[in-house]
Amino acid sequence: MLKQYSFDKTAVQTFDAQTSLALKTEDLQVFYGTNHAMHDANLAFPKNQITALIGASGSGKSTYLRSLNRMNDTIATVTGKIWYHGVDINEPNVNIYEIRRHIGMVFQRPNPFAKSIRENITYALRANGVKNKTELTERIEKSLRGAALWDEVKDSLDKSALSLSGGQQQRLCIARSIAMAPDVLLLDEPCSALDPISTVKVEETLLELQKQYTIIIVTHNMQQAARISSQCAFFHLGHVMEYTPTGTMFSNPQIPVTQDYISGSFG
């Protein structure tokens, strides 16, 4: 028997005007047909920090994340505002391709294309009009170094990306995203298909990457959220229940539902 929690009692932090924000949502709601999957999400993401979105399966955290770079466009109705550099990018007349160039995404399942390692990275660059050979070469190296994969693959850039291990594939997907030089990196449970050693590598990569990028990561793994994130948001049944600095969330949760969730006496 699942415990009932009131959705009125929430603890969601806001930031003062001094904090520079990368992204902010206002009353974001998501509907899959008649199914109301996300209720009024008001979250702001400080620049160059890692924000973790935690919660049980079906709590709406992935749905929320996918809305941020408009990947939900064809499958759901998203209302509300998503502020990015002072522009509401949830407006229909916004160029979604341009948004996705600035807000990159890495998925749960490592999904490199069935092409070589090199082509996996140049694919997006070429699609965006980068044709100069030297620039391509530079950006391949830079992004692979950024994803801490360069030393492992520098001699085999023409090998198929599918010959890499799961962890390497996922770091290649990260490299592929950062090759586009985005501002924001969205990660949807990037480590759930990986073994602990690969997970550590990806986490180290993310900690390094937050110097240049704002990272928003959905994770099922609370230890992971505690290890790498600065801010943490807890989702429950399509509602944002609590959003606090990660330290606060894990040492001093503000409301009962969060407390129950992180102590494991949930439901």
């Binding site: 996705r100 160039r101 995404m105 999904n111 294309f113 069935a114 694919y123 997006a124 699609a127 010959s163």
Partner: protein, 317 residues
Amino acid sequence: MEQTNFQLKKQDTQSQEWSKRLHHATRATREDWIGRGISYLCIGVIILVVASMLWFITSKGIATFTQNHVSLWKFLSGTDWSPSQGKIGALPMIVGSFAVTFAAAIVATPFAVGTAIFMTEISPNKGRKFLQPVIELLVGIPSVVYGFIGLAVVVPFMRHLVGGSGFGIISATFVLFVMVLPTITSMTVDSLRAVPRYYKEASLALGATRWQTVSKVILRSATPGILTAVIFGMARAFGEALAVQMVIGNAAVMPKDLISAASTLTSQLTTGIGDTIDGTLPNNALWSLALILLLMSLFFNALVRVIAKRGQLKHER
């Protein structure tokens, strides 16, 4: 001592009873036997039919060379087809068959791929609701109907457009194009639908446009499937007899252009089969044409298998 012996005896009889119980046939085991028997019988009959067809066509087909002593090279390269005078150069028909097959495939493939992309990527709902049934219907229309339409519409149109009789390779190509289009389209749709969704998402999330995603990711990973579709279409075109015979003009001469009467292996077979006597050279020569058709369809099948294998390897790593 007495006691133990007695116990042993008792165990023995018990175990015998159990053995009997566990070995005797029940309704379930009998059903197994019957089922297995029926399927072996069916397989046996099919193997027998296929093997005897292969043997029959092959033995009849090579009679031209073994009994009538026509050289294989002359048969394949000769351009004069007059079996009643002992001249059996099959090259005109071979060229005709390949010409209509390739032409139909080349014309049909872009249309098929375009339609398939529309049905899977651009408008999946309309694709499923309207186009799918239409295509299934087109596959089911008998070839004589296509031929009849070709004869009544395409041939006069060509006559009007380019002059001449209107019969010829171009009319046959047009009819075959309509006939293979649904085959290629529906198989291409299947292979596009089989492309994993995460490929598409990965591409879109990188800021690639829909067109870039379709052309560089989806089409590329569906390529083995699309090639298979095209080959199946070609196999259908190569083997089609009736519709082609009705519009190609059936002149067993080397085709000089696309608008004069020509013939294919199949059309020559259907045209000539009634006029020959079993065991004579003209009859054997037709069997040789049939043998070529058989070998070609084996070749198409083998090609499909090779492509399927290659495609699989590429995906698995």
